[in-house]
Symmetry: D2
Subunit: 380 residues, 4 copies
């Protein structure tokens, strides 16, 4: 929320001359995150894993809504622990309460709030979120198998949370219990990013087994303790490509696997989704340039999204040179310099291949893209 | 609270140590400044007053082009002093040189570069810029009257620079010489903002005498010594509403008085221009709301421009309350809370008047705007 | 100009993906606020007015400790409303609970946590804080007079909170009830700054009636919703000049009136305190300079504190010129240029008077300071 | 120079109400970089490689002084290319001119300015700087051997610049010519960091052959085009441990090899220098803590320098757990959590070994440090 601060300075300083009367307004403002819609789908920014004082979190449920609104999100789920309630001496009520408390503000701010809860057991099988739930309290049963089954009976969307958390080297382990859960159809989603952790192996499993990928903040304290709105330190989120902005459409998209994960400046997901986002947002301002002699010409690339793209040259051609690395910041225009090695003359179509290092279709598999331009090489 | 963002930066550099081949690219990137076009005109961001090492400035001419590109400008003029050349022991060449040196890069980056020079005499009449010039050296004559006449014969656009500079309390004085210049038609433009100074009296004169207003950086050192890209500390600029993006169209618009000045978060200009910019960029997301009892409802206002708008309530209604002040940051959405005083029932159209304190149609004359909404007041 | 800093952030995260085991540490780090001790006293930074979920706040009590630690504070009081408990459907326990919950972490982090509560009545007399309390629940009585008396019997330090809040134009009104409270000795302190409001009239009353001044955040949401650690937008705080860092010493200093208020870049308090802070932290690096002819010399001023100082010239001398305004940023060195008007020759001691516009000993009364230097004026 | 911006906002906004009169002061302010002195030596921050418009740079020489002052440097050398003068059509004077032009301002600001020049030949042997020169023009000879010899005869300090620049993968190659230069005693220093490049192999050579290491910006454009004052993106610099702050003392220290390189958040140099800096600046606030049961205690570590330190655990003990990674930001205090594994009871001295990953005594050789604390393990 860095951009806001500058603006706020105006008000403050002007106000000190007299007095400040802005108190009734929300302290926060919202900045949209520019990520394009996919053909036929609207791109919703979602955080499906959040805690409040009703389990072991440290904020009131409405704070989760205000944070989400300010952060440019569209959908959140509050998912307090069913079995772990360290504040129960002071707060000992239904686990449906956080949702009930936050629902009105969410509606007022246009945030879709999904009812959720976290089934919290030791590994295996570990923690599982159930979202789009009807009644959180029904999950409070002795056996984890019963809890999952109950969630499924409520037609909840169920995900395996932070599969590598507390495992050696943060590498997830797939136990027999996970096979059992998967075979029952309960492993509908899997977090490949949770808080500050990323699990490449979970990403691989998701691809192999066709499990929907999620990235979640799992925030317990105020979000700003851990994240800000810079591209590199933004809260992790799940991009959901939904038929419309509604709770049922979010659930449909989750079940259909139409998600990507945006976390720490990287975008993880299916090639078609990532390619669509890249090609819609990176534009060549001047696709025809001329270069004189062994000189240099500039192709201007503009990034219309709020996702910075980090390109690395995918090999080098014999006839011309491009930089090994190029980053196109959020909303920025950069220069791609092309240097003639002297072998080309006249108008030539050039195909310049790059890897987009922060768009990953699988672990270690950056998206391949090409810029197609025409260069007129002029002899001196 | 300084979260550990700074620390995380480190790991990066390890990578740079291994490969860093980005050296041939420009160090800077460009961020566009989102200000809408006016009906029939394109909005060009311009700085018509810049110095280089060729007079008393401290940068090479190409730097002015790189800075302008990075800052989101479309048009600049290099206007070195004709008569004041403190570097002449080391640089003693034609005053057309800075333009010649910078022209190629300007063309490559899509920046319109106007040839200019500053006629630099003691007050009265002070300093005058001539831009869209053919030959700067011809202005190097003994009499200032001859210099201005020569500029006019070259069909240059002539402006009175920083009229309040070095005057007591920075208040400009209109001497007989200025009447003479005005009567000859040579006072085509006047700087109401120069560097960090603003001259309200010059703004008043410009309105009364129909002189085109300009805001210029008059930068001598690297721009970043004095300015950054935050809304409150951006370089001053002249917005030119031109028929197209071309040097002749810029000149036509200047002669026709189609400009506004954007400086230090404030926009100065004719009411029609300012109103068009405001109404095109501030949108009411939810123009129909409901309020229950003596409660509060939120109207969401989004600002699609990069100009923050600072609103103050233009009086308070008897039936409802709005905040005294509200700032809508660049690209942000804010909440306008409306509190029912209990007198209204059912659906009511409300007109909520505000002053936009940073959009000034004359000194001390903020733009008046109105938000028209419909509120459904619901009895509890 | 947005250099590619943002972009560089990325590579980092790659590393985090591989190993991120920092999770058990606190997310926040602490930055000390450099403000000097006064002779014989240690300067403690305090916020005596904070809310949690136990009344109408939105954070768990431990969050107030973590925020305070990160913000460089030494002392806080949690002061939940005695009578206003909107979360009571979910949280209905003793008002001593927030203190009990936060005490252990406060101890671990070296933060002094004072037990407090806010007696919350309509105006008159409005809201009063009682801090250094023994039992908050005892204040829960029908009559406000009884509540104040009970607090006094517990030997609490009692303050009138935000006296101008919700008053017309935020100007406080002194009712008969306040005279009654004052005469009983219960108006020991008064907030001259609360949240984003400043009450000059309360400051005047405090000076006239010898009431201890306080500045408090009165925060309900996460602190970062409203404040950051920039000098202009830091949380308001009370500086307490205590004999040592201990709860009893804080109380002794409060009762003795040894406080100042630091809020929004301004420091309010007694002249002796402000002068001591200024003279201890602003140093003239080179108190002897030479100026040749009608030239200019630079005196270097360094500010060893984290409080920026905003100076304005207190008149101009006939013999030399200094800038009208000069800001010395936190921890920065700036140049004070002195320009010879040509009347002085040889070594001259100069006394250069300034007002420190952001150090206020009373409303509209900036601290007067003088820089004493020696200038050797050399004829060319 | 980010901290300055916030402060400046004050002035601006206050000033807009009236007018701004601060124009005569320097635009920049100085922020010191807190790095401790070594026993017997003062730590000077130096940039020995800078260009101006007098060769292929883009700023006037005084700008290099202003930048250095603002950036907290103590010493710079302007080192324009002897043989490469692309601006010679407009500037064709002695290469001693940049030094002569900048000397007066350097003196006024307390910056030591060393006369320098860059002998600019194709590889081998590549580019060499000669600093603390008497006459730059004498290096303008046909043979590079003669140029180096002439520099040596002037008793200049000679360094091999950016040895890996334009080499495949930026890996330097040691040619026979370099052996020749080394054997003559002319390879007194070597850049291990230049601009955004780091050459680990050059660092290894420097250790093996006892060559003084340097890190230089080699800036051609305004410094702020490429760097800011954040720890991760600060201009590269050479730390010189000199007997006093004077030009001769700088030269003595360079010849004696008492330097370290500070670049992109990393510090490169001899173990004794790095250890002294670390131990002087990282302090354990509470070296005695207690831990109850299998719980967790916090050791508070404060970093009194402006260099962030990145620690990684050097193995894990059987009896307790510490985080794998911990960063102590510039001027910050962080918590080092220590978790009991349950095997220890009573007071135990613990030695906790860490690697400081950004303090490198050789390529891939982080400094080893130990924190010595006492923990009282209390049974529940």
């Amino acid at each position: 929320m860095s951009r806001k601060i500058v603006c706020r300075l105006f008000v403050v300083v002007a106000a000190l001359a007299v007095v400040f009367t802005d108190q009734s307004a929300l302290a926060l403002s919202r900045s949209e995150i520019r990520i394009p819609d996919l053909p036929g789908y609207t791109t919703l920014k979602c955080d499906f894993h959040l805690h409040t004082v009703f389990s072991d979190g440290n904020v009131w449920p409405t704070i989760r809504v205000e944070e989400a609104w300010a952060d440019g999100l569209d959908v959140i789920a509050i998912t307090d622990h069913v079995e772990y309630r360290p504040h129960k001496d002071d707060i000992n009520v239904s686990l449906n309460r956080p949702h009930e408390i936050a629902a009105s503000l969410a509606n007022e701010l246009g945030i879709i709030l999904l009812r959720g809860a976290e089934i919290t057991r030791s590994m295996p099988p570990g923690h599982f979120n159930a979202i789009v739930l009807e009644d959180c309290d029904k999950l409070n049963v002795a056996e984890w198998r019963d809890a999952l089954q109950n969630a499924a009976e409520q037609k909840a969307f169920i995900t395996w949370n932070h599969p590598g958390w507390l495992q050696p080297n943060i590498i997830p382990i797939w136990y027999d219990e996970h096979t059992e859960i998967f075979n029952k159809g309960y492993m509908m989603g899997i977090e490949i990013v949770n808080d500050h952790e990323y699990y490449p192996l979970a990403f691989t499993w998701a691809i192999e087994k066709n499990i929907t990928i999620l990235g979640c903040s799992d925030s317990h304290s105020p979000l700003m303790f851990d994240f800000d709105n810079s591209p590199a330190n933004r809260r992790p989120m799940t991009l959901v490509f939904a038929k419309e902005k509604s709770a049922p459409a979010v659930k449909e998209a989750l079940l259909a696997g139409r998600t990507a994960v945006y976390a720490y400046g990287k975008l993880y997901g299916k090639e078609e989704y990532l390619r669509s986002i890249f090609t819609q947002t990176v534009e060549i301002v001047n696709p025809e340039i001329s270069i004189t002699g062994k000189g240099r010409g500039f192709v201007r690339l503009v990034n219309h999204s709020d996702i910075p793209f980090q390109l690395s040259a995918d090999g080098q051609a014999d006839q011309f040179t491009v930089p090994g690395n190029l980053t196109i910041g959020a909303g920025e225009t950069v220069m791609l310099p092309i240097t003639n090695k002297g072998m080309l003359q006249g108008k030539n179509p050039l195909r310049i291949p790059f890897k987009v290092d922060n768009l990953l279709t699988a672990p270690e598999a950056p998206l391949s893209v090409e810029f197609n331009i025409v260069v007129d090489f002029i002899n001196k």
